[in-house]
Amino acid sequence: MKKKSLFCIILLFVFYFSIGNSWGESQEISLREDDIEHSQENLQNGMQVVMNLCTLCHDLKYVRFRDLAGIGLSSESIDKIRGESDANDSILSKMNAEQMNALFGATTPDLSLMVKARNGGAQYIYSLLLGYHERGDGVIINSLFPDIKMPDVFAYSIEKDELDRLTLEQNARDVAAFLVWTADPKADERRTLGVYVMIYLFVLTFMLYLVKKKTWARLNSNDVT
């Protein structure tokens, strides 16, 4: 009976994981599977690229300048990055929605939650940035999102130099890593706390198991139907 129940529970888990995955896969996109690293170096490099390039057009309205301390920036470096803005200000683009619309015929989505807002998450961002290529007739399109109104901001499709291409690919990975952080800056804290909670719960549950066993041992084992 116990084995059976355990089996049922495991089966349910497998089932719901497969549902979760099928939701993720429902947008048939081929993502580039390269490993995205999340070291502080990667995050800071990604931050540089995002600040210099992406914020020309995109907001990161849920991130404030002072939050950047979370990826290991000193307050001096933050001061340098924020320029005139207050440390408590959100990171916003200089352009507003109307200007963007006039220029590109689309409003630019906010980037702070982007990783959580697309199936595929970080891989999606990374693959999108590197998805640009030149078609036979010289038109540049994105294989992931053919109708995208965003230009090839990395100029990856026309970059011929192998070394420069590698740098761009690294940058794209780091941008994705940085956007993972902006979408969920509390992730490290959450996982660390989670490990302690889990250890605590395992010990507690094991002790409760012993208590239960000991309590029930007091009953003489008369047969019950």
Binding site: D67, A117, R191, L204, L208
Partner: protein, 409 residues
């Protein structure tokens, strides 16, 4: 201390309540771990109430502010991320626990006399829980929140004569908007307290009829044991296991059941490519989509939830005990569970020709299980009694026939 106790006891039956209903409360000693889930449901209810109250302190039920205020909770409120993820994962945990609790009741036929009122108060709890979860899902004001509410409230438009009026009345506007959000928030805060009061009724009924047990027979006094310490120990161990699974999701996979679309702020001008409800509504959603006619689909969906209430009438077998002693019922139980799992899966798929077909077959099986139950249960009883039941059981059945169902020996 004892003076205070005496003072209170002269005015309020506190000690006798604790003694009768918590400590000495006689409980069948053969309850398996499947009987833990009622306690777990109560625990999750309290968890949801507490986390919900703290979320409400920071949340803003305003279409312009709602999405941002959730993000504010996630980033700036102290441990706001923890409270929100506990609440979000808690909603799914609540349904998981309730569905298992229901499956246990089905397997052991615990809805039969004299526990019909427990079953019906449970049905009321299920409805209230569904309403609460549905309204709660609108509050983050993401794309799926918005469009889910838009679609589901729109279903009421199929009602004859007053359809459009009902939809406007529900939404407070022609489309889901600020008015809808505000009223859903008010009701989402109110309904849990209604749930608490139905739980009290559920428990009063329980303590009157006492727990069912795997054998299905009222056990003799010597096989009942005091709730404390035996079942406090057993329930707490079960709670530990539950908390381990729950915490895994809260800390390591909190967005597992949050769709990517719901991290995009609601946009009334842009319909998502596929609108899917939360996993716990998927079986009913699949039934809705399986019926070609929309009004028919809505009725089928409503029926698929409410039909559980008819079980005490549909199951006409007098054979005591669970599916273990009832071969036909057992097969029906497993087919039904499997069928619900298939429906859940179908509900999450794009409605292609293939999945629509699978959904239709599964819908048919779902309702057939209920429709056939009166006949199969009677047939099964006849067969079993022909083959010969143990004398005690025959006597029990005769006894019940004489003194009414649930009559004590």
């Amino acid at each position: 201390m004892s003076k205070v106790k005496k003072w209170v006891d002269q005015r309020f039956p506190l000690s006798s309540f604790i003694k009768h209903d918590l400590v000495e409360y006689p409980t069948p000693r053969n309850l398996s771990y499947w009987w833990n889930f009622g306690f777990l449901a109560g625990f999750v209810l309290i968890l949801q109430l507490l986390t919900g109250i703290f979320l409400a302190m920071h949340y803003k039920p305003d279409a312009l502010l709602a999405f941002d205020s959730v993000d504010h909770i996630m980033r700036e409120v102290n441990y706001g991320w923890l409270i929100r993820y506990m609440h979000a994962v808690g909603a799914s945990a609540f349904f998981a626990v309730i569905y298992i609790h229901m499956a246990r009741t089905l397997y052991y036929g615990s809805y039969r006399a004299p526990r019909e009122l427990m079953w019906w108060s449970g049905q009321a709890l299920l409805l209230a829980l569904m309403a609460t979860a549905f309204m709660g899902y609108l509050l983050p004001w993401g794309q799926m929140s918005f469009w889910g509410a838009q679609v589901i409230t729109g279903l009421f438009g199929t009602a004859p004569f007053f359809g459009d009026e009902i939809v406007i009345w529900l939404r407070g506007d022609f489309a889901v908007g600020d008015a809808t959000l505000t009223r859903f928030f008010a009701l989402h805060y109110l309904l849990p307290f209604l749930i608490v009061s139905i739980v009290v009724i559920h428990l009063i009924a329980l303590h009157h009829v006492k727990s069912s047990n795997p054998s299905g027979i009222n056990l003799s006094a010597k096989n009942n044991i005091p709730f404390h310490p035996y079942f406090t120990a057993k329930d707490l161990f079960g709670l530990g296991i539950f908390l381990i699974i729950y915490s895994y999701f809260v800390f390591f996979n909190p967005e597992f059941l949050i769709l990517a679309e719901n991290n995009i702020p609601a946009n009334p001008l842009q319909t998502p490519s596929q609108i899917v409800p939360e996993w716990y509504f998927l079986p009913f959603y699949a039934i809705l989509r399986s019926v070609p006619d929309l009004l028919g689909g809505v009725l089928a969906m409503g029926l698929s939830v409410m039909i559980f209430a008819t079980l005490p009438f549909l199951d006409r077998s007098k054979i005591p005990g669970g599916a273990k002693y009832r071969p036909i019922y057992r097969v029906m139980f497993y087919i039904f569970v499997l069928d619900v799992i298939v429906l859940t899966y179908v509900g999450a798929q794009m409605p292609t020709e293939f999945w629509t077909l699978v959904g239709r077959i599964a819908t048919l099986i779902y309702f057939l299980t209920f429709a056939l139950l009166p006949f199969l249960s009677k047939y099964e009883e006849k067969k079993l009694r022909q083959k010969g039941l143990p004398e005690e059981i025959e006597e029990l059945i005769r006894c019940e026939e004489q003194y009414g169902r649930g009559g004590k020996k």
